[in-house]
């Protein structure tokens, strides 16, 4: 069995010794992540539904974590009203909240040590798989929210596993997100369709946790249901520094048969850019350099880590953002924001005339914090560049934070190596 399958077998009800890809299991998750959400009717409906079902105590109460990350702090009165209803609901059940600029849920939960290696975490967010970077089974909820609240169970189909082995060494001026974009381009939007995706190989081994989160995050854009990176010393050092709860590292059996195996060498790539409107329409920066940009955006759960902000600060140090461009920087979590402040990166960003926001999902899901007008062109480090994501009629390019920063300086898509000699 794969390590992921061992986690599912443990969480299956009744518990199982073995699970097979394709079968449907009822599972009880170790953690359930929810959003301090923006739809008032949904909050009222949930309260009424639980009442109608006669559910007074939520079975998962102590394992539910509510994070205010989307549209937070509230950008409109209507959204403030909806979030209030959700907070009232969470508080009435004693659910732990991460609010007030804590950051994006799937970065906050591992940082606070509430999710650990070997856990099954289900969260209402398609990029929940980001947490798989610590060696857990992390997946997004589709339907099934009421079931999780009411009876603490979820139905999951045991996935096959796609293995992506990444090798090689990046050239100077290239970053983890370039490698990640390249892999997405190579595999495509359905490269791991319906499967789990495991990232491994000599290149992944050299990455710190920040870029491992990036890879796990972007597994979602291959159509996968979860991402996984086998814990090693790097993982465990990070996990041990982020919480004290015990954990289990599961190992994949040596005879496990992967559904498919992809080998990707990132040695010779140039900085990568995904063009509108698909995260797998990826090209070398030279193919698109010079295209005008109106906005540059660094952040999101894909690329809102300290390494990302450090890379942007290196490019921006001692320079000014082009007067026709707005550069918005949204750190992924408060931990990142504090560390970036201590390291002097935030001061560098301010001096370059960047707009630095509090930690949250920001403009990535198109709810606040730097939306686009029709016709605006943005280069960003967000998760996906679907049509209209940051505003109808806007054009979204995806790139590494260094490429975004370089483009913000030039007013057009630019190769960061020009600024990193």
């Amino acid at each position: 069995m794969h390590a992921l399958h061992k986690i599912l077998a443990r969480c299956a009800r009744p518990q199982r010794d073995r699970v097979e890809p394709g079968e449907f299991l009822e599972v009880e998750p170790d953690a359930f992540g929810v959003i301090v959400a923006i739809n008032a009717v949904e909050a009222k409906r949930l309260v009424a539904d639980l009442d109608e079902l006669g559910v007074k105590e939520l079975p998962l109460r102590d394992r539910i974590y509510a994070v205010a990350d989307h549209a937070s702090p509230a950008p409109t009165v209507a959204i403030a009203g909806a979030q209030k209803l959700w907070r009232d609901f969470f508080r009435s059940h004693g659910i732990r909240e991460f609010d007030g600029g804590a950051g994006v849920s799937h970065l906050v939960l591992p940082e606070h040590g509430v999710v650990r290696p070997g856990m099954l975490g289900i969260a209402i967010d398609s990029h929940a798989a980001t947490m798989g970077a610590i060696g857990m089974y992390a997946t997004s909820l589709g339907g099934g929210r009421l079931t999780l609240y009411a009876i603490g169970r979820y139905v999951i189909q045991v996935p096959k596993v796609t293995l992506v082995r990444v090798s090689g060494k990046l050239g100077p001026g290239l970053f983890g997100r370039d490698a990640s974009l390249y892999v997405n381009g190579r595999l495509g939007q359905r490269g791991a369709y319906g499967n789990a995706v495991e990232f491994a190989g000599s290149f992944i081994d050299t990455l710190g946790m920040d870029m491992r989160f990036t890879f796990a995050n972007m597994g979602t854009e291959m159509g996968s249901v979860t991402s996984y990176i086998q814990p090693d010393r790097t993982t465990l050092d990070w996990v041990n520094a982020h919480g004290s709860a015990p954990y289990t590292v599961y190992e994949t059996d040596p005879d496990f048969q992967y559904d498919s195996v992809h080998d990707v060498d990132v040695s010779r790539i140039e900085p990568q850019v995904a063009v509108p409107h698909a995260p797998d329409d990826v090209h070398g920066v030279s193919a698109v350099a010079g295209r005008r940009v109106d906005q540059a955006y660094i952040g999101s759960c894909a690329s809102g880590r300290l390494e990302d902000i450090a890379a942007a600060a290196r490019v921006l140090k001692g320079r000014k953002v082009h007067p026709d461009v707005r550069l918005v920087v949204t750190p992924g979590s408060r931990e990142v924001l504090i560390a970036a402040t201590k390291a002097g990166y935030i001061e560098t960003l301010h001096e370059a005339n960047a707009i630095v926001t509090s930690a949250n999902c920001g403009a990535c899901p198109g709810l606040h914090g730097g939306l686009l007008a029709p016709g605006d062109v943005a280069i960003t480090s967000i998760t996906r560049n679907f049509e209209g994501r940051m505003g109808p009629g806007g054009q979204i390019y995806l790139a590494s934070p260094a490429t975004v920063a370089a483009s913000a300086l030039k007013g057009a898509i630019a190769d960061p190596r020009e600024y990193l000699s």
Partner: protein, 168 residues
């Protein structure tokens, strides 16, 4: 259960949840999201479609976000979406909402916009009434079928909780 309705076909691959219903409308009451359904692909869709009609789609329909984009489809009274394949999150969102997501490889060749389709949800036989052709889709797993047949998550849970309470 048999369902019959007129078909609206969106044959493109990888129609993501943002194209089904933009995230910027996520805060609207679910029943009001219908007018934004698929507006990026066909701005007149919501005004043309009638209750009981079906959406027929291509590969990986509803890929992307976990956002409940299916609300916009339900709000228009559409009881089923038939696609070559679905994005996994959208698929389970449909089940929870009581909207039939029917996987049917070959559906794009079976039917055109305006044709009448008859669906037998028990046998997953799909019949193009207009042209007299049929195809069989993939059966839903039992747990999902039970949930949609009960009318979605809440009625399903009601039955289940009643059973476990009477057993206790």
């Amino acid at each position: 259960m048999k369902l019959t309705g007129k078909v609206w076909k969106f044959p493109q691959s990888d129609i993501n949840t943002g194209l089904i219903r933009k995230q910027m409308y996520n805060h609207l009451p679910p029943d009001e999201q219908g007018r934004h359904c698929l507006e990026s692909l066909d701005p007149t869709f919501a005004s043309k479609v009638r209750r009981g009609d079906f959406i027929v789609a291509g590969t990986n329909f509803g890929c992307g976000s976990s956002t409940p984009a299916h609300y916009s489809i339900l709000a228009l009274g559409i009881p089923a979406v038939i696609a070559e394949s679905f994005g996994p999150l959208f698929f389970s969102n449909c089940v929870g909402g009581g909207l039939w997501p029917i996987v049917c490889p070959g559906i794009l060749d079976l039917i055109e916009t305006g044709d009448t389709l008859e669906i037998d949800t028990d046998t997953v036989e799909l019949r193009n009434v207009t042209r007299g052709r049929s195809l069989t889709g993939k059966p839903l797993p039992d747990i999902y079928r039970a949930m949609i047949e009960a009318g979605g998550e809440k009625p399903y849970l009601k039955e289940r909780l009643a059973r476990s309470r009477s057993a206790a």
